[in-house]
Symmetry: C2
Subunit: 233 residues, 2 copies
DNA sequence: TAGTGGTCTAGACCACAAA
DNA sequence: TTGTGGTCTAGACCACTAT
């Protein structure tokens, strides 16, 4: 994809400070000429930069560089796994619990599967640079993901499903709220029961529309921050 | 814009259940023919639906309808104001405090303006159907927004800035976390000090790149939920 | 009025999914 | 193999900004 490559080039240029003097990108026309691609590619590349919050556009005026303060924050939109998100830090995952259970009504409804379907129930605790970050309670439909062992669960489960199983993960619904920590989650986060937590409920789907994973993650309120870029129209 | 109109039509069709039987939209080619527009328009329209989480695309297969459980949830990405977001409910805004102050160093750094710049400092409390939803602490640069009175602050400030002042609001950076409520915020939310809260810090910019508004909003953990759609690539 | 981003068309060809 | 979404081009014209 030409436009993805162009986006990468422009991203590097921005990081290099190549456009620092003017604070804006070359015009569409100039980019078309410089890189020998069509306007379609240029606009597609730019829209990637916009999505990442690197650039904002003003019709009739130009494409301006925008620096955002996402440092140390996690993205809610680009699910690339915590490890990739917080690179440069030591992210460790500990598997607290791992078993296969038979879906009761509650779980079946949550997982959009039949009661009795075998599902993995996994509890994982994550830490960043030695500080607890999150506790995750997650279910995987075993009919879709046949094998998960402790070693696999210590790494990126999404990565495993994509690369090793060859399944196409497509999208996820997330619901985000705050609540008091349960005693159990508090212990794993080295906090007190009743302390606040950001809670993210996550339903993940394959490209065929099947839900394969449902999870609830409790985040350490002292360290976890999320960022979001909103376009206002 | 043809593609925006087409998106609206398709959105209605989806709500009507016109595509219920197959669970998917007509093919791109069919839409091109049916609506007499180019593929460009069709794809732009579809990408709006994708952004809203109404549809997901599978290359080589089709465009599938996707229902998400955003009911009662607020969006972090599409900042249209709480009132529009939660329509069907009675959203009330009470202005707790409103004054003009001179930016000290801390505020000037936060607002990216010079110390001494006059800024509005406003505290607002919102309720939905009589239940407290949020407490907002917000600053507006008075050099950009010259006049805010209590009546204006009771309504949509963004709407006022856009429609009445004719300024172009472009984008916002948000940081999201959880923390314990202060005593003051707890009182306004009818909760206890130390109770959890989702906290959203918001920096809003005009299309010329100027920041005009910074705010911190504390949400009632018993009622406030946010949703987010993540695409996984 | 000139510069620059946004919309739209027509058409070619590629990549992936499903039968 | 056929259907369907994804990429890419060339070119016309519109809408907004800045001067």
């Amino acid at each position: 994809m030409k436009y993805q490559e162009l986006a990468n080039i422009l991203k590097e240029n921005i990081d290099d400070g190549s456009y620092h003097e003017t604070g804006k990108l070359p015009t569409e026309e100039q980019l078309v000429e410089q890189y020998g691609v069509s306007k379609y590619c240029v606009r597609n590349a730019i829209s990637i930069l916009v999505e990442f919050g690197l650039v904002y556009l003003v019709q009739g005026s130009g494409m301006y560089i925008r620096e955002s303060k996402r440092e140390g924050c996690m993205s809610l939109r680009n699910t690339r796994g915590v490890t990739a998100e917080l690179k440069g830090h030591s992210v460790k995952t500990r598997v607290v619990h791992l078993e296969i259970i038979s879906a009761d009504e509650r779980i079946a409804s949550r997982m959009k599967c039949k009661t009795g379907t075998p599902v993995y129930y996994i509890i994982r605790a994550r830490s960043v640079d030695g500080v607890p970050l999150s506790v995750e309670y997650t279910y995987y439909n075993q009919e879709i993901v046949p094998v998960i062992d402790e070693k696999i669960a210590e790494g990126s489960l999404f990565g495993y499903i994509k690369k090793d199983l060859g399944l196409n993960i497509s999208f996820a619904d997330k619901i985000l709220r705050a609540d008091k920590l349960t005693k159990e989650a508090a212990e794993l986060l080295e906090l007190e029961a009743g302390d606040p937590a950001v809670i993210v409920e996550d339903d993940a789907y394959l490209s065929n529309g099947q839900m394969f994973n449902a999870s609830v993650v409790y985040y350490n309120y002292k360290t976890a921050k999320f960022f979001e870029l909103a376009e206002i129209k």
